[in-house]
């Protein structure tokens, strides 16, 4: 028998009372952890998806739409730009690397992106099986695409026209899988990558069928691409370059980090609101712990006075109460952590709404540390208020039944 076991017996002697406190606290911690972790994971994933891209050039329209469509691949493109104009940008001395991409087809909802061999270097991703596309209509699958479609090297498939999974029109010329990328936690995991020629060839063929107006075998400079992903040697000329493009050309330049920050500031209002609600619930839970302890001290004042006559010091009684409170708080923290992390993991894993894969520090990061610190601080304040009556217990009065 020691203070630990007495505290545990005190908790278990009122199971429903304790369970109610535990459930309320766990729910508030789950909500708090959940919203912060979801926000952190999405932000971290989106930032990951930016790779080393500093600027994206595309058709005039919404810059956010251009970023969402050409970098995150979650929106429709703003239009096409001429490959000739893109090639001019590639020759600019400020540019470290510029990768043209062209897309408009899908396979089972996964976008088929026509590009150059430099595309995976933007994300530091390498081919883990097979090789890169050498000939037209050869593709390399993102790791998640390979897992979810079951396609393997040597398999062929017919791509669907458009970006929606339920496309009614399929290209008759099959594409062949020649490689699979390593899992990277970036947008490449969800893409099917092929050469620019493949996209042009399929679409020329498609346009022939539709319009019968274009000649086969046109040169590249007459071709169009969807956008150009640009990485700079240094960022000092980024804004000037961007402004020049926007003013003097028929293209628009969008800075992805700026556009995503803007996006987060919109989404952040909702995140902040939910976070404040969660904090409020946490404070209410802290208040509940405090009131429960004060009530418990009142209800058990005779017990506490008896302990004092047994030789228990003030410190031992205070320790008993602190343990009772902190057993519940620590349990709630563990349960809240497991519940929130599992829920977010399931959401990320089983839905295609969010990028697949988790940040490396998903299970333990500074956000979690901060929240644990906040929860413990609330608990310490609540317990500090509650133990005051214990220090002021008038044992003689209580034992004389005057209280």
């Amino acid at each position: 028998m020691n203070i630990w076991s007495i505290s545990i017996r005190n908790i278990s002697s009122k199971p429903w009372y304790s369970a109610l406190g535990l459930i309320t606290l766990t729910l508030s911690i789950t909500l708090l952890f959940g919203i912060q972790q979801l926000n952190y994971t999405v932000e971290s994933k989106l930032n990951n998806d930016l790779g080393t891209i500093d600027l994206v050039l595309g058709a005039k329209g919404s810059p956010l739409q251009l970023v969402l469509s050409s970098i995150l691949h979650i929106d429709n493109p703003t239009g096409n730009i001429s490959y000739e104009a893109a090639e001019a940008v590639q020759r600019n001395p400020l540019v470290k690397i510029a990768v043209p991409i062209s897309y408009g087809d899908n396979y089972k909802g996964f976008r088929i992106v026509g590009t150059t061999p430099d595309f995976p270097t933007l994300y530091n991703v390498e081919i883990v099986q097979g090789r890169g596309p050498k000939y037209t209509l050869e593709v390399v699958l993102g790791n998640d695409v390979a897992q979810k479609t079951g396609l393997d090297i040597g398999d062929t498939f017919e791509s669907g026209h458009g970006l929606a999974a339920n496309s009614l029109h399929h290209h008759e010329r099959p594409m062949k899988v020649v490689g699979i990328y390593q899992p990277s936690g970036t947008v490449i995991d969800r893409l099917i990558v092929t050469g620019l020629d493949s996209v042009w060839e399929l679409h020329e063929h498609h346009d022939h069928e539709d319009e019968n107006s274009k000649e086969a075998g046109e040169e590249h400079y007459n071709k169009e691409i969807t956008s150009l992903l640009v990485s700079f040697k240094n960022l000092s000329g980024l804004l000037k370059f961007s402004n020049t493009i926007n003013r003097n050309t028929g293209m628009q330049a969008a800075i992805p980090r700026y556009e995503l920050d803007r996006l987060f500031s919109f989404v952040g209002i909702g995140v902040k609101t939910i976070s404040w609600i969660a904090f409020l619930i946490l404070l209410l839970s802290g208040l509940m712990i405090c009131l429960n302890l004060i009530q418990m001290v009142k209800d058990r004042s005779f017990d506490l006075a008896l302990y004092r006559t047994y030789g228990a010091s003030h410190l031992q009684l205070v320790m008993m109460l602190i343990l009772e409170a902190f057993i519940l708080v620590i349990l709630a923290l563990i349960l809240g952590y497991i519940l929130s992390q599992t829920t977010i993991y399931c959401v990320l894993y089983y839905t295609s709404l969010l990028p697949v894969g988790l940040p490396a520090d998903f299970w333990f990061n500074s956000n979690i540390m901060n929240l644990i610190f906040i929860v413990l601080s609330v608990a310490i304040i609540a317990v500090s208020i509650a133990i005051y009556p214990v220090l002021k217990l008038n044992i003689s009065k209580i034992l004389s039944h005057e209280i």
Partner: protein, 236 residues
């Protein structure tokens, strides 16, 4: 805590380098010039001087309101005197720091309260274990079992205290007061709500336990039925 008058406390204890020096006599409890005043009351309660040798029993009789429970709380250090001193086993208990007083009380004194009460969240055995833990004594299951057997409540060892009858609770109260082998057992109105037969049983039990533990028994009551059982009686 009220401070004692230096002259009086010096005559009762000698402190050398923070240690208590034991006097070589048989006095276990010594109460001198003890009085008490409640904070919101101008009335001062005066108590008689008491001297009890080792293993002696004492009955303190008094009608309601004369301060019987207050005296018991002064003897156990739960209250501090306005003037005077209580010395138990050569230690002026009100001179001790709060922490040392808690430890002293837990170690040397056993109290039986007017109202039968034990920790309701614990079983009978756990109550006794908790008592031993806080008094700093080693927890010995055999001793617990033997004590409960001697009090005829061994069957209830794993019962929660809210499952006990009043009689069983009273016996548990006695067990709680003696389990740690105290030097002094203080009992506050232990028989007032009992019929004659049970009254005698409880007094016999208390005296027997005091004898077994070689402890002083001090019973504070208004119940005159038990007067004959004590060689020493003080009227308040």
């Amino acid at each position: 805590m009220q401070k004692l008058r230096p002259g009086k406390k010096d005559s009762l204890i000698q402190r050398i380098n923070g240690q208590f020096e034991k006097k070589n006599n048989l006095e276990m409890i010594e109460v001198q010039n003890l009085n008490f005043r409640y904070k919101k009351d101008s009335r001062i309660l005066n108590f008689p001087n008491i001297t009890l040798n080792n293993s002696e029993s004492l009955l303190i009789l008094g009608r309601s309101g004369v301060g019987k429970t207050t005296l018991l709380h002064l003897l156990s250090g739960l209250l501090s005197p306005y003037h005077g001193a209580v010395v138990v086993d050569d230690v002026a208990i009100h001179e001790l720091s709060p922490k040392r007083l808690d430890a002293f009380r837990g170690h040397h004194i056993g109290i039986i309260f007017q109202r039968n009460h034990a920790i309701s969240t614990l079983t009978v055995e756990e109550n006794l274990r908790a008592r031993l833990f806080f008094s700093g004594r080693a927890i010995n299951t055999v001793v617990i079992q033997q004590l409960l057997e001697s009090l005829n409540i061994a069957d209830c060892i794993s019962h929660r205290t809210n499952e006990l009858s009043e009689g069983q609770l009273q016996r548990l109260g006695i067990a709680m007061a003696v389990i740690h082998s105290p030097r002094v057992i203080l009992a506050d109105e232990p028989t007032s709500s009992l019929d004659d037969e049970n009254c005698m049983k409880v007094i016999d039990l208390l005296k027997k336990q005091a004898e077994l533990n070689d402890a002083n028994l001090v019973v504070i009551t208004h119940d005159q039925r038990i007067t004959a059982h004590f060689s020493k009686t003080i009227f308040l």
